[in-house]
Subunit: 613 residues, 2 copies
């Protein structure tokens, strides 16, 4: 290797800035950066192809830092690639700096927010998949720590990458032996990781991660990979490498050096040429993600007296939108015949991604797709979206533009029992700032809301129902984010019932029964759960005699529609009563279970009469 | 094999009842039962050692049905073992039956609720670990489907089982090729699974799952395993095996046979001896889990003017309780030096379970421990408990007695940034019916609440803080589930501020500042977030001039303390204002981030003045 000295100097400069920046910050993970300094120096010096002026250029290689706590390494690498002056790294972890403790989108070179471990391989797989599907030439690199290889998501992603033959994916494992609180499960036995990745269908290369020639050969081999398999480079490294009192020493995870320790460390590093920079290989072309216009018009029509399952209508609607918007991708976790995304698969196999029963990977792959301008729809049972709660959380931090659709919500699914019931999904998505939540009750609203969710940039979650429901709306009806529809109203309503999804029908039945007894109630369909239609809620409350509002929903009591409604009117003196599921349900018919949970027509009638006494 | 004919007949009887029960229910997964009928016939006929009168007998073998949708198989097996008349299986999936669509604890022979896939191996590992730690002779069997092997949790559990040398664990894979919506990733290539399990440290045996001799030899070998490795029996099977129009046919997942199809199927099965039963091997001894009394007295004392981190005090408290209660286990995900469970490890290495960075497996292993009478404490960063949201959900359905402790909650953690902040944890646990949620603000309350959570049977979650906080309470102070403490109160308070955890100190500072301006406010420490202290909240509201309540918390706006408080008083005409985190936070100091989020002393002062105008 001709430029060995220069490479050594560059990795010294990387080390220097990882140490300086964390000491300035008085926190951070310098030793986790040092173990990967040599590997990344070779990658950026010789292989990484990137248009620094256009991070979204679709001809750029991709670099995902899965071990997000090594953020100073990422920041130093792009600084040495000319993105900003290295001096700015002294703002690390300070309020207002783009260099946060773990990478976030404000640092525009990060492919995704990381910091919750074991997610980067899925991000990289999502990025690699776009290249495969669209014949783009780039490589997708991901740097992982050894501690995070214990996370199951890694192995979901590994199966996914090999199954989909992502031979443009290069995963580099920085096996530095020491995790946060002690040695990892396998210490420096890199063959244990190699065995696992090989069994999961990867080409594997084991190296000494501090030997530049071995690193170079491994990356060269990986870049020339013709095996149709993804590549895993498993590098034996030392945490804190290069500084004698840090190297391979326990007790240094997540600790910045004190000022005097830093001086000692820099003295050990010796003279460093501060002018050294990476001259990244430029991409041959510029191609940015295209935005595709969404046309709202649908060719769907519905028969007035027929019932439709909103989950099924969703499948048809997203397929129709897919014709007009070629950025739409659909991801499935082996339930495509339940969520009805199989419709999309039939028409657009190239934009359908089968993730099998591995929801965590599915969500993070979607974050990767979103990074490159795609609009991924992630659909599974609402209950199983909880499997990916952390991935959803992190995708939100990544500002990903993902559309989630959870089917089989509530006790109304019936016989399958509690394990299959989505009863905490509104809470899951509702906590995440700015997440839109829709719950259509009928076919027409489903179609309209699928269109709205596609057009809204950002997180949107839609709940769909297992049972079929009657039509409530004419196709001319308008729907909007933050909207609602009043379905029953008279001049002398005693109170208002705010329902959503399946409970809309229970509320309507209750209203009709009560009317026979001379009791009029106002019924609202809160199809927009978040933001909820505060204006209409208050208007209805004011117009009803008792100024009482009942919310009724097929969701657990805490964190659902009821809490959004109560919060919306809590600054005024109204009385609100939540009706929701407060028990672990069981097997039974839809009617029995809604009755047992106290959210059916009879419960609403009893509650209404009790409140107006 | 001597009794081949009888075995064949027994597996016929299994098939018969799996078919009959699902047809009666008009739903269910008969074909998923049929593929495993032969394997389980051999297991129950010859190997399974069990005291049917005492499901909790610690000398019993354990049988976990990870593929929970094959519940009729489980029910038939225990029926044929004499637990109940087979006729009762006709109540399958009906309201009130113990035979639900997926196994739940009402079926007392189930080791855990299953039905969300990929969790059973972790349950079985937890059960196997108890035997290892306590020198009990039983085997822990788990039956898995091939579809669920795509779930990452499987590989977390596989690492866990081999790392902890659980050679008493026997995992049987029913590789029937067909998942819900099509063929699995690897179809009938059972060697792909064998490669993976071997790489993950298992002894592997591949067999034809319909060849009784092969099944028998495999089970015999597994039972005599002397390798110190767990065993994986990977069986090639056919979905719907035994019925020509179901066998290996796509499109039959989760479908019950119609009455006429059932007749055809039963005719194909031919004559079945309905009197056949499994004569399970009896256990040699009876030993039931022991309850250990918890003594509340602590030897901990705190210095009045010193500050303590509640996370650190938790570590000390659980260690002290561990001395008195030998059922307490502590599980860690490589953060024991952050959650301070390392204290427990030092004193009780035999009851400390290192799970490494694999939170899903950690939670489900805890469910396994709970089944056998242990009181597992699961501790990690609150943010990373979201990684196991589905496992937490299912453990709740299992009625597991788990204590969760989430550290590093809120933006108050500072520089590490949003990926490490627990801001949705109250919503996560709060939705699950009957879950107690505590958030201590100081050392004394932490100690008292750790004791309360241990004594309460069921789900309890406690939030702990990263920063140190001052003492608020004297050791004589009493704490209770559903309690609170009033920290500031005067005869003429204008409004009430309900805080919890770190915001208690902001509220106190605000109260002291406001007092200087002649404005008195009432300050409550809602250490019991759920149930929240409704009585005291209403009392305070009534006693304050404006009858206004402010909630202030370091949690996202939706689903936190504020929503519990609002819901508690929503049936009365009070005004409640939530102050909480409504943005994705960033890196910065605790003070900067609490200020940015609008939950610090200055925000409380401004809000108070605004409300009393």
């Amino acid at each position: 290797m001709e430029q060995l000295n220069e490479l050594q100097d560059k990795s010294k400069l990387i080390r220097k800035w990882c140490l300086i920046s964390t000491t300035e910050a008085e926190s951070g993970h310098p030793t986790s950066c040092l173990s990967a300094a040599d590997i990344s120096a070779v990658l950026f010096d010789k292989y990484f192809t990137y248009d620094i002026g256009n991070p979204l250029n679709l001809f750029n290689d991709r670099f995902v830092l899965s071990k997000g706590h090594a953020a100073p390494l990422l920041y130093t690498l792009f600084g040495m690639a000319g993105a900003y002056p290295l001096e700015e790294l002294k703002t690390l972890r300070k309020f207002g700096s783009r260099f946060e403790g773990h990478p976030v989108p404000e640092f525009i070179y990060t492919e995704a927010a990381t910091g919750s471990l074991g997610q980067g391989l899925s991000v990289a797989a999502g990025l690699a998949m776009v290249a495969k599907r669209e014949n783009l030439p780039y490589k997708s690199y991901v740097l992982l720590g050894d501690g995070e290889l214990a996370e199951g998501q890694i192995w979901e992603a590994a199966n996914f990458a090999s199954y989909h033959k992502l031979d443009n994916l290069i995963a580099i494992m920085d096996v530095n032996r020491l995790a946060q609180s002690g040695e990892t499960m396998f210490g420096h036995h890199i063959e244990k990781y190699a065995d696992r990745f090989r069994a999961f269908g990867f080409e594997t290369i084991t190296i000494d991660g501090h030997n530049f020639e071995e690193v170079d050969k491994a990356l060269e081999k990986a870049c020339n990979n013709k095996s149709d398999k993804p590549v895993a480079i498993i590098a034996k490294t030392f945490k804190g490498k290069g500084i004698s009192f840090l190297e391979n020493k326990d007790g240094w995870h997540g600790k910045a050096l004190k000022k005097e320790e830093l001086q000692k460390a820099l003295a050990e590093l010796g003279e460093v040429d501060d002018s050294l920079r990476f001259n990244l290989i430029k991409t041959s072309q510029i191609k940015l993600p295209e935005k595709t216009a969404v046309n709202d018009s649908f060719d769907l029509s519905f028969e007035k007296n027929k019932e439709y399952a909103t989950r099924e209508v969703f499948g048809e609607a997203v397929t129709q939108l897919g014709k007009k918007n070629t950025n739409i991708y659909v991801l499935d976790g082996d339930v495509k015949n339940s969520t009805f995304t199989e419709e999309f698969l039939k028409v657009f196999p190239d934009r359908f991604v089968e993730c099998y029963i591995a929801e965590q990977n599915m969500v993070t792959v979607a974050a990767g797709l979103s990074r490159l301008g795609k609009i991924p729809f992630v659909a599974t049972f609402a209950a199983f979206l909880t499997r990916a709660a952390d991935q959803i959380r992190m995708a939100r931090v990544s500002e990903a533009n993902i559309k989630f659709v959870g089917s089989h919500v509530g006790v109304s699914i019936g016989e399958d029992g509690p394990s299959q019931m989505g009863l905490e999904d509104i809470a899951l998505f509702g906590t995440l700032p700015g997440t839109i939540i829709f719950q259509p009750a009928d076919a027409v609203s489903t179609v309209k809301l699928v269109s709205l969710m596609t057009n809204h940039h950002g997180f949107v979650y839609m709940r769909t129902l297992r049972p079929k429901t009657a039509l409530l709306y004419d196709v001319a009806q308008e729907f909007k984010i933050g909207g609602s529809c009043i379905l029953r109203q008279s001049g002398d309503d005693v109170l208002t019932i705010a329902a959503s999804g399946i409970t809309v029908f229970e509320a309507l039945k209750a209203a009709d029964e009560l009317k026979k007894e001379g009791i009029n109630v106002c019924v609202m369909d809160c199809y927009s759960v978040n933001p909820v239609d505060k204006t209409t809620l208050i208007k209805c409350l004011k117009e009803t005699k008792k100024q009482i509002l009942i919310t009724v929903e097929d969701h657990f009591t805490h964190g659902g529609l009821g809490d959004f409604v109560i919060a919306a009117v809590s600054d005024m003196n109204f009385r609100v009563e939540k009706m929701a599921v407060s028990i672990i349900s069981r097997s039974g018919s839809k009617e029995q279970l809604m009755n047992q949970a106290g959210i059916d027509v009879s419960a609403i009638i009893i509650k209404t009469k009790e409140l107006i006494k």
